[in-house]
């Protein structure tokens, strides 16, 4: 069958199981937008390519499938840079398809030309420039294979306009030929046995669960391992929902704004069982004083993560699900031989005490301004089974802390890159991928203003979700650092409670706009928002600008020096190596 490159592109996307593409057309991608009309694939017309990219990410986070974004050459591709970098840092499987100027003028500074493969080389898992339509289908095939297998990540395919128009014979390659790409997925059994020996010898073990467990869809397997082995669990910012927060073995989130029990359990542990986690600086604090007594079992699909920040006593390269299943089987077998898990009642009792004595806390005065934590907690009480998407800043930390997660893929955020503006487009993508679920973006007022235009997309494409703006009139997280580390010298962090009027802006976008100004409004406003199902809703929670996120381990400090509340603040300087949130 003779087809154009553009037709072949959509036939290939259909073969890959793509249901939805987020994008914006333009000159160099025009040929591809024509066969789109006849395709089964749904196109969601975003208002900014960054929105399309984050929507593809949100879709991938929520569904586990590969998200797809499409853009034109030059400025279109350049607008995808942030989502691609975000997806690289957080191992999110997306494929970006960009138009390129025709091959004869590539390199000529033609109109809307940008060397997008050059620009995105360090922020993609791989990228391709397709110079001949005869290679297009196998390239698309390879792109999806690379994006979704091994350590997932973003792949960009750049297709010059003449290649989209070139006529070829359709052929679907059965095999993907990538001689240099053979990810190790099966964990080594000898290593698994070594790991189980360490687990059985450990008096103070902690399962340190990272985003890899979510990516591997291994939450059920993790549950069995934790419960049968009586192993307490911390879930990182990337892994919230991998283990139910209400379980007695759950310690919550570790790291810079982690719970006392989670942070301290890792510090005092004699064994860390890291599953799909990468010993990120936001988790370890000062590396030299992190978990000083702990041996380390490190399970990761990416060999480059093992030993990168912390040496591993037992390294296991493999897919988290495969390795967890093997660990569980071996642990169960050995425990049956020795009559059950070792007695770790003292350790578990200590953890229980830490959880009891140092819970997350805040105070909501009945006559005072709304505390952000209160708004988030009330949202949780009303919509426990929602998918929560967050921006970056204080509200992100509070959302992660105060939402009680029980299911994987119900928490979506920008962890590694910390991309403000992530929430609204990612919520759009999540809602498009999971129409059966309620999606709630918990966003900052600063973040909201970076990508709010996708509310228009939500209205016109009928993809409703709720946005809860934690409006503290500030770039709150930066304000917090200035309060703590710059002697309260506030520099360029004030935004305003009133500008823009979030409720009016919502209405202008065709959404329902609501506002809560006092603690007693909160429940009613949330109920009202939840009663709307045919449109998106924006709630403007007018919150206390002074509230700070605690606990906190200042950047570069040791996790031993965790600060539990404002009363423990000692004047310190911003350490030079520590970037802002």
């Amino acid at each position: 069958m003779k087809v154009t490159g553009a037709q072949a592109l959509f036939m290939a996307l259909e073969r890959e199981g793509v249901e939805i593409v987020f994008g914006i057309p333009g000159g160099a991608i025009l040929p591809a937008y024509d066969p789109l009309i006849d395709s089964k694939i749904r196109h969601v017309l975003c208002r900014h390519e960054q929105g399309a990219g984050h929507a593809a990410e949100g879709y991938a986070w929520a569904t586990g499938k590969v998200g797809v974004a499409m853009a034109t050459s030059g400025p279109g591709g350049c607008n995808l840079v942030t989502p691609l970098a975000d997806a690289k840092m957080d191992s999110v499987p997306i494929v970006a398809i960009t138009g390129q100027v025709p091959t004869p003028v590539v390199g000529n500074d033609a109109f809307q030309e940008a060397d997008i493969t050059g620009i995105t080389m360090p922020i993609t898992k791989h990228n391709f420039l397709v110079k001949d339509a005869n290679e297009l289908v196998e390239t698309i095939r390879a792109a999806f294979h690379i994006a979704r297998t091994g350590r997932p990540g973003p792949v960009l395919v750049d297709i010059p306009k003449d290649v989209q128009l070139q006529e070829i014979t359709w052929r679907w390659p059965e095999e993907v030929d990538l001689p240099g790409y053979k990810p190790t997925t099966k964990g080594n059994l000898k290593q698994v046995r070594e790991a189980v020996k360490l687990i059985l010898a450990s008096e103070r073990p902690v399962l340190y669960v990272g985003g890899g467990v979510i990516k591997a869809d291994a939450a059920k397997e993790l549950y069995r391992l934790a419960v049968d082995g009586r192993l307490p669990v911390v879930t990182t910012l990337m892994a919230r929902g991998a283990f139910p927060d209400d379980h007695e073995l759950a310690l919550g989130m570790p790291g810079m704004h982690g719970c006392y029990a989670a942070v301290t359990a890792m510090q005092k542990a004699d064994l860390l069982i890291a599953l799909g986690a990468r010993f990120d600086d936001r988790v370890t604090g000062q590396l030299s004083t992190f978990a000083p007594e702990a041996k380390v079992i490190h399970v990761d699909i990416d060999p480059a993560e093992i030993g990168k920040n912390r040496a591993a006593d037992v390294p296991i390269v493999g897919d988290a699900k495969d390795v967890i299943v093997k660990l569980h089987a071996e642990l169960k077998r050995r425990q049956e031989e020795i009559g059950g898990p070792p007695d770790r009642s003292a350790w578990l009792a200590t953890l229980e005490r830490w959880k009891r004595e140092h819970p997350l806390r805040y105070e909501q005065p009945s006559d005072g301004p709304i505390k952000p934590q209160f708004a988030i907690q009330r949202l949780y009480e009303h919509a426990k089974d929602a998918i929560v998407v967050s921006g970056v800043g204080q509200h992100q930390m509070w959302a992660s802390q105060f939402w009680r997660f029980s299911e994987p893929r119900t928490w979506i955020n920008s962890g590694g890159l910390g991309t403000m503006g992530f929430a609204i487009p990612a919520a759009l993508g999540a809602a498009a991928g999971r129409p059966d679920k309620r999606v709630i973006a918990i966003d900052g007022d600063g973040c909201f203003q970076m990508t709010a235009q996708e509310l228009a997309t939500s209205t016109t494409e009928r993809i409703p979700f709720i946005t809860a703006v934690i409006n503290n009139a500030h770039l709150g997280m930066v304000r917090q650092w200035q309060e703590l580390f710059y002697e309260e010298r506030y520099s360029q962090v004030y935004l305003s409670h009133e500008v823009p009027d979030y409720a009016k802006l919502a209405e202008a976008y065709g959404c329902v706009g609501l506002r809560a100004e006092h603690p007693e409004d909160v429940d009613a406003v949330i109920e009202k928002a939840l009663s709307v199902t045919d449109r998106s809703v924006v709630i403007d929670f007018r919150c206390d600008p002074r509230e700070m996120v605690f606990p906190m381990v200042p950047a570069g400090a040791s996790n031993d020096d965790i600060i539990l509340g404002p009363e423990q603040i000692k004047p310190t300087k911003d350490p030079s190596e520590a970037p802002v949130a």
Binding site: M121, I146, L178, A304, A312, I316, V317
Partner: protein, 185 residues
């Protein structure tokens, strides 16, 4: 093998890559992004169509080297990486050097060429252009001597190397891998 004050050592790594557009940029970019200076990098085709070999010399500690190698391994177009230890590999470099050689100095330059068994490729009234092949150490020694006469220009290919013995990079070469990856096989 030379070492500098930081305890860093020169490492020669041989990288088998698919001959795809951009592969050199990807490899070089990775070194740059991780903050490593490349001492030399030589690329050329191999006996297998579609495959090239890069010989890269870097000065780093063992641990960062491992990290870079693991990152290199993640590049889709990289097929295999081996580190070539000094004693276990043959190493060569080619250089072309144009040196001032007028009047009575000419005889002295020619004498040095003789001792080093290197060839003169071009002669003018004022200069000699010399082709030097050998181990990087030998070329370094030669350059030191020629420097006294005045070097007009210099071009070096960078080091290329192959492991001694029967095995090629494909069959037996010690591939540098993550600890865990090694266990996994």
């Amino acid at each position: 093998m030379s070492a500098n004050g930081n305890g860093k050592r020169l490492h020669t790594i041989s990288v088998l890559v698919e001959d795809k557009p951009g592969v050199l940029t990807r490899v070089a970019g990775l070194f740059a992004a991780r903050g490593f200076n490349i001492d030399s990098l030589a690329v050329g085709p191999t006996a297998e169509p579609g495959l090239s070999r890069m010989t890269i010399v870097v000065q780093v500690d063992r641990k960062p080297l491992e990290q870079v190698v693991k990152q290199l391994n993640k590049l889709i177009n990289v097929i295999k990486i081996v580190e070539l230890e000094p004693g276990e590999a043959v190493e060569r470099e080619l250089m072309l050097v144009k040196v001032r050689a007028e009047g009575e100095t000419r005889a002295r330059v020619l004498e040095i060429c003789d001792v080093f068994r290197v060839r003169v490729l071009d002669v003018t009234h004022k200069t000699l252009t010399i082709e030097g092949t050998g181990t990087p150490e030998k070329l370094q020694a030669l350059l030191e001597l020629l420097r006294d006469f005045g070097i007009v220009e210099l071009a070096r290919t960078g080091r290329i190397a192959l492991a001694r013995g029967d095995a090629g990079i494909r069959d037996r070469g010690r591939r540098l891998k993550a600890v865990g990856e090694r266990e996994a096989e």
